[in-house]
Each structure stands twice: as C-alpha cells, then as structure tokens.
C-alpha cells in the first residue's frame, strides 16, 4: 500500500464531497467513476458488494466511501476515506452555521433553492443507474430492484426491511437455482 494512493483518494473524495449537492447518495456516480473507471482501485463486483454492505451496516451512508477505502488500503484506507469525505464539509457546516444570520438574506439562498433540486433528481437517478450496472446481472436482480423501487416509492419504510426481505428471497432463489 503506498502513500500516494491514499493521498489521491483523500483529495478526490474530499473534492467530491465539497462539490456535491443532495447528500451522500448523489455522490455515488462520482465515487464509482473515481474508484472503478479512472483508477481501477476495485472492479464493479467489489463496488456492488461495498454498496450492499454499506446499506446493511448501521450508521451514516458515508460508509460506502469507508468500504472503498478499506478495499484500497485496509484500515488506514478506511479511516482516510471516511475522514476526507466528512471533515471538509463538516468544517464548512460549522463556518456556515456560525455565519448563518449574515448569509441568510443573500441571493445565494434563492439560487440554491431554485437550481439545485432538479439537478439532485438527475443525480439520484444516476446513482440508481450506476449501481444497477455494477450489481444487477440477472432477471431476478431486475425483479428485486423494480419491486423494491415501487415499494419504497409508494410506502415510507426503513430501508432495512426491503433489503432483508430481498436477502431472504435471494437465498431461496439461490437454493432453487433461480439466480
């Protein structure tokens, strides 16, 4: 494991977080572009596994980045990935919240409120597309994804329930050779 890769990961993850809009989920396409397409730190299968495990583990969704870091450089990589995603934007949040009174009536508020939301929609669907390409390779996968998408679209639910239901169905399907 070399220091340069850790530094590169810290830079690219921090940069991605700083320019992101709409939270962690919308960063997924960029993290995939960095980790799989550009630097080949992992392949699509690893990325799909990291995505799945990060959704099952308790805690913030940033755990996907932690797992990419783990694949790059074990424990050190996990810490670097987590900290570089979290710390710069946490610092920004502190600064912003302390200045909030002064910033609230600037035109930035209106601009952000108007221009960000539709872009976030596109980003979220991009995340869906990128993770689908990495992790779905069977009719069964398509059916599960479509079923969960429809269910979560219509019902407010803790994401863990549909995931566990799907895991149960997946194991059954595997046992019967349907996967």
């Amino acid at each position: 494991m070399n220091f340069d890769t850790l530094l590169l990961m810290a830079q690219t993850f921090a940069m991605t977080a700083i320019v992101s809009i709409g939270g962690i989920a919308t960063m997924i396409p960029e993290i995939h572009r960095i980790a799989v397409e550009t630097y080949s730190w992992m392949d699509d299968a690893d990325f799909a596994t990291a995505f799945a495990i990060s959704q099952v583990a308790p805690g913030p969704n940033v755990l996907l980045m932690s797992l990419v870091g783990w694949r790059v450089a074990g424990f050190a990589g996990m810490m670097v990935a987590t900290l570089s995603t979290v710390l710069p934007t946490a610092a920004l949040s502190m600064g912003f919240s302390r200045l909030e009174g002064k910033l609230k009536n600037t035109p930035w508020y209106a601009i952000i409120n108007q221009s960000f939301p539709p872009l976030i929609v596109g980003l979220m669907l991009s995340s869906g597309l990128v993770t689908a390409k990495a992790s779905i390779h069977s009719v069964f996968g398509v059916l599960i994804a479509a079923g969960v998408a429809l269910y979560s679209y219509h019902k407010k639910t803790n994401p863990l329930y549909p995931i566990f239901a799907s895991v149960f169905l997946g194991i059954l399907a595997g046992r019967f050779g349907l996967l």
Partner: protein, 184 residues
Amino acid sequence: MPTEPQHPTVSLWDLFTGFFLVGLFGFGGIAASLYHVSVEKRKWLSSDEYAQTLAIGQILPGASLINMSTIIADRFHGLLGVVLALLGLFTFPLIILTALITAYDHFSHLPDVQSATTAAAAAAVGLTFGIGLKLAKGIVRSKTTLAFAVLSFLSIGLFRLPMLQSIVGLVTVSIMFSVWQSKK
C-alpha cells in the same frame, strides 16, 4: 435564529453518548435515529429547530445528516463538541463495518452468501431509484425542472462526465436561465 428557546445543559459526555446511540440505532441510515435521539430522547432541540437545522444541512455540500450533527454539536460545545460527536457517531458503525467486510471476505465463496449479497445490492439499487422517483414527483413540475433533471441524469448517469464540471456547468446555465426568464 430569532427567539432562541432555552436549551438544556448538554455536557460533552452527553454529546458523545448521544451520537454514539445515533450510530448504534442507525440501521438503514441515521435519519430516523438522529431525530429519535436529539429530539425525542435527549430533547436537545425542538422538532421545529430540527427541521430548520436539517434544511441547512441539506443545502450544504456533503452528507446532510453529518453536516446537521456537526451544527448541533457546534452549538453546544464548539469544535471539541464536534470532534466528540463525530467520534461517537462513527465508532460503532465502523466496528460493525469492519466485522461485516471481514466476514464477507471469509465467507464470500459460500453460495448463500453470494445470493444474499446479490439480492441486497439489487434491493439497494431499487431503494435508490425509489428515492429518485419520490424526489422527482415533488420537484419535477415544469418543463424547466424536467429539462434540468434530464440534463443532470444524462451528463452524470449516462455520459459519465465528472461531477464537478457537470454541476458547475448546469448551475451556471440554470442561473442564466432564471435571470433571462425574470427579464422577459
């Protein structure tokens, strides 16, 4: 904030343990557990304050709920509070994550484990699309919003352009467009 309601006294230890619980109960993301601990259990903020702080966390770049946790901790104890809150928030999840990935690497050859992971990933994909569609329903209500949602999907999802350039470009176009609209 206009009229600051009386806040309870929150010690550094309270912050650490509170955020430790947020991480511990954060199955499926910390949205529900952060609300439960900070509003219902520890009464650090009212639900109105929660909504206001969440709105700030969402317009800031990065992880919305971590931004929000940072702001809450900063209000009570400044930088030291933030450090302890984030330590508390990440300790348990990172331990579990390490255990899960180690177990996965050890057992990934078993057919059941492969089936389970494949299905969990597919379900997570479905959840992502579900959120995207839910957001679209609330946001995409005009030709303009539809156009910008499609442009961001095409550039980042389909053509895989870098996020920085895409977002900066699209926000610029969006600002120019709204200026042009308001002048018409």
